[in-house]
């Protein structure tokens, strides 16, 4: 079954995110005063073939740990969806 994995990589809490801070102050400058915190991360899509959801989740998590995210500075979250073409 073709699956679509969505990977969200975000800066770990407590790790400096100067990009997020800069975006926040720009939003404030535009009048969006309600913005309390901004984190800028990455969104990665992976198309998987012949994948069974449970095994696929484990493999995508392994991909995150080994390459897609750096555990020293980043957290990640994985979502799987059936791919519709």
């Amino acid at each position: 079954m073709p699956l679509l994995a969505r990977v969200y990589v975000t800066p770990k809490r407590g790790i400096l995110d100067p990009q997020g801070k800069a975006v926040q102050s720009s939003l404030h400058a535009l009048g969006f005063a309600e913005v309390q915190d901004v984190k800028v991360g990455k969104y990665i899509e992976l198309e998987l073939r012949d994948a069974e959801p449970q095994a696929a989740t484990a493999r995508v998590r392994a991909m995150c740990e080994r390459l897609l995210a750096n555990g020293v500075i980043e957290d990640f979250r994985v979502e799987l969806a059936e791919e519709r073409r």
């Binding site: 100067p18 020293v72 500075i73």
Partner: protein, 241 residues
Amino acid sequence: MRWGVVVFPGSLDDRDTLRAAGRVLGDEAVALWHKDRELGGVDCVVLPGGFSYGDYLRCGAMAKCSPIMEAVARHARDGGLVLGICNGFQILCEAGLLPGALVRNRSLSFVCDLVTVRVEATDTFLTQGCRAGEVLELPVKHGEGCYVADEDTLATLERERRVVFRYTDRAGRPTPEANPNGSLANIAGVCSAGRNVVGLMPHPEHAVERLTGGVDGLNLFRSVQAWVTRGRAVPVAAAPG
């Protein structure tokens, strides 16, 4: 001695490093291609500065997957000398050969400047020729040079005296103004637990001749040369298996 400088797609400072070790220092210096699987018997392998793989995903993240990195990790594990400069430092952190990570400069600006760093540890192959507390003037040029690590890691680095260089003013004071990128504890370079892997953001290879930016980097190259040629004991871990 024999130096090996790894060339990744996007490396920039491999030529200057080869020139510093070869032409300036008079040693044998060879380029190693990132697809090589052997290091060709070099005494010290250098991962040079640049933008390997265009800094895709994260600085150094692609390069750590290059075939040669298995040989570099093996060399490091066996007590061999490994030096990472700038992007090379980022690659060593990504590969897990050094702790911590290098993230976007706190200012969000690329910094290209001469900085001063204090030598914090003189018992590494790179700094044995320096005086403790000596202040060196070296160039930096990077967008992602802000050293970060969790509190435990930082405490371990300090306790084991593994911070090798710190950004300071000329008097050796680690002030915020002397810190070009926002690195925690003004850290400019660290070493591995075995002290045979060293990474730093400043560029000693660009400071080896008076005509072009000073000679404070030359002493670091000479340290490595002396370490190897005078038979300074390289800590060799028992080979597994």
